[in-house]
């Protein structure tokens, strides 16, 4: 196991380098990083040249990348458009997005698995059919449409929630945005749980459990669920990174000042350092989450052995 972790960590390095390099190149193409530095006005040529030298922008791209990554490794993510260090922006943005993601994950687990179990055990009944239809609709409607509609209904028409989240983003205000963020994954968790349950239900070991005379509840919880939830748990694990990256739309709709908001601002103002910095952290989160999921898989399923 230890050796496996080491090898996986080593394998992560090229992927990390590749992904950050790719995003670095994209941002490099994106535009002039100093354009936003002189406020609303164009920079005059002399200032621009001075700034270029200061930021090392006169260097070739690969050297810029190396310098940047070198700085990142020492914890220096550069400066945002408003002169703040990017790390400071991260310090305010990430807690908000992490809270939002947590709400989304909890909703996925609670609602998604519950619906999946209910439908999986009642295949073909009206509950099953209607939930299945509902998940298809949720999957088909893009998140931004779902978000706008929910905001319209709950926030404007019925006035149950504030249409936009306040700056501190307290947990209570994040529940509806979290639901929007989770919606598509939630539908997948439901479907995955249902399929997995239905597959395992016909399995030999469940038949054995029934033949042993175990009560139905025990057959379901201890034998059926324990096995069926393995793919679900791994899906939810990989979803953590995906949700944080996908929060950009949800954060925009509900005006949440999280990672997505900062990234959006960074892109609007063509601030290279903000964009690359935030994406670098997101890529790391994604890679680590994936590694953890693979390790979790081995814990949940004893047949999996990592060599």
């Amino acid at each position: 196991m230890g050796r496996y972790v080491v090898r996986r960590l080593l394998q992560m390095i090229p992927v990390f380098v590749g992904a950050t390099l790719l995003i670095f190149l994209m941002v490099h193409v994106m535009g002039d990083p100093i354009a936003g530095l002189c406020g609303e006005r164009e920079c005059d040529p002399a200032t621009a040249a001075r700034l270029r030298g200061e930021f090392g922008l006169d260097q070739p791209v690969w050297r810029q990348y190396l310098t940047y990554m070198g700085n990142v490794l020492t914890g220096d993510f550069g400066t945002a458009f408003n002169g703040q260090p990017v790390t400071e922006l991260m310090g305010t943005a990430f807690p908000v997005t992490i809270r939002l993601t947590l709400v989304a994950i909890v909703l996925e687990i609670v609602i998604g698995i519950t619906l999946g179990v209910v439908t999986g055990l009642r295949r073909g009944r009206p509950v099953d059919t209607s939930v299945l239809l509902l998940t298809l609709v949720v999957i088909s409607v893009p998140t931004f449409v779902t978000g706008l509609l929910i905001q319209l209904l709950l926030g404007v028409t019925w006035g149950w929630i504030k249409p936009s989240v306040s700056a501190e983003a307290p947990l209570g205000e994040l529940i509806v945005p979290g639901l929007v963020l989770a919606s598509v994954s939630l539908a997948y968790v439901t479907r995955l749980t249902r399929t997995s349950l239905a597959e395992n239900r016909r399995s030999d070991y469940v038949r054995t459990a029934i033949a042993k005379g175990l009560p139905r509840r025990r057959v379901v919880t201890r034998h059926l669920l324990r096995n069926s939830l393995i793919p679900v748990v791994t899906f939810i694990g990989t979803d953590i990174g995906a949700l944080m990256g996908g929060a950009i739309v949800t954060e925009r709709i509900f005006n949440i000042h999280g990672v997505g908001y900062q990234l959006y601002q960074g892109i609007l103002r063509q601030n290279t350092q903000t964009v690359v910095g935030f994406v670098t952290v997101l890529v790391l989160v994604f890679l680590v989450a994936n590694l953890l999921v693979d390790l979790l898989y081995a814990v949940l399923d004893p047949r999996i052995r990592y060599a």
């Binding site: 090229p14 790719l22 088909s140 931004f144 404007v156 919606s183 793919p231 063509q270 990592y306």
Partner: protein
């Protein structure tokens, strides 16, 4: 099982729907997992052609009787027709707007009312189909071609090329799609479809590549392929006559579902203000433009949203139906 961090994309990478296939494919890929149970022997077949032919004809027989397939193909045919000839059902000009009528509701001749700029919502919704269908079809074709060629070759030849391609795939999976789109497309100043399509192909091919690779590896180890190889079939013949016909099914399924998600992605990017911009006619642009007026003119938001949702749903359901038909295990 790395995921692509954009929600609707998960119709392909995820679970439930395209999921089984992806799980199966990634099982066979780079994760060093060794299930301790006895090895599955794989389906037996007498010959690649026979097997492929009966698979497709069985699937077709199944599909013809499947109401989900019939309904979704009808919807898709309708969409294709109105995107080719929108004036068949909406003769107005989508760009003819009258600010005096802004936010007005339904009235004779204008069943869906007017949006915030006073444009006819019905005409714009009908004309918006062309953008969505074009982006979806072109992006899917590009992704499917590039992905299946690269992935198929990697699966067939294995070795260093395969290892390299797997790492590249990992790199692309690690970048959140919406974010990549925001960054790349924010540079584009023109107002053309092709940068959007190009971006989708660029970030979308690893998905199909992974599926194609897994499918080719599975097919490669089938007994009839081993037999053909033992009889001295050349690599190109093996790949084209024996492996490709059996590996193409999962690619088609995933690509169909992906088509719907590309349409959703185009709208999402337009909503975020990159990709297409006015005066282009696109559901995403209209939804984005309608959202500030949602309090007074919700219809301007609801109609293009509904059209978008129905379109995406149709493709996802079509893919779902095709997958059910092509997967004999589920029968």
């Amino acid at each position: 099982m790395p995921e692509q961090p954009y929600e609707p994309e998960r119709a392909m990478a995820g679970t439930g729907m395209g999921g089984q296939m992806d799980l199966a494919a990634s099982e066979a890929t780079s994760l060093e997992k060794t299930p301790a149970g006895p090895e599955g022997t794989g389906p037996e077949g007498t010959g690649a052609e026979d097997k492929a032919r009966s698979l497709w004809s069985d699937a077709w027989r199944d599909l013809r009787r499947n109401p989900v397939f019939l309904v979704s193909s009808l919807v898709i045919c309708f969409l294709v027709v109105i995107s080719l000839w929108p004036s068949l059902i909406a003769s107005g000009n989508p760009l003819a707007c009258d600010l005096a009528k802004a936010q007005e509701g339904s009235q004779p001749g204008h069943p869906f009312g007017f949006n915030g700029q006073g444009c006819d919502v019905y005409t714009r919704t009908v004309h918006g189909a062309r953008t969505s269908v074009t982006v979806g079809v072109c992006a899917t074709l590009g992704v499917a071609l590039l992905g299946s060629v690269l992935g198929g070759l990697a699966g067939f030849f294995g070795g260093a090329w395969d290892g390299f391609l797997s790492r590249i795939t990992d790199v692309f999976f690690a970048i959140p799609v919406v974010l990549g789109g925001l960054v790349l497309l924010s540079v584009v100043t023109g107002n053309s479809l092709w940068p959007v399509v190009g971006f989708m192909v660029l970030l979308g091919w690893p998905q199909i590549s992974r599926i194609a690779r897994g499918a080719v590896i599975t097919a490669k180890h089938n007994d009839y392929v081993l037999a053909a190889r033992a009889l001295g079939a050349s690599p190109s013949r093996l790949l084209l006559r024996h492996i490709a016909p059996n590996a193409v099914a999962p690619v088609i399924v995933v690509a169909t579902i992906a088509l719907g998600t590309y349409i959703a992605l185009e709208a999402t990017l337009s909503y975020l203000g990159v990709g297409l911009k006015p005066p282009s006619v696109s559901w995403g642009i209209d939804i984005s433009a309608a959202s500030p007026y949602v309090r007074n003119a919700p219809h301007a938001l609801l109609w293009p949203s509904g059209a978008l949702a129905v379109t995406v749903l149709a493709f996802i359901m079509l893919g779902d139906a095709v997958r059910d038909a092509l997967d004999p295990k589920l029968r």
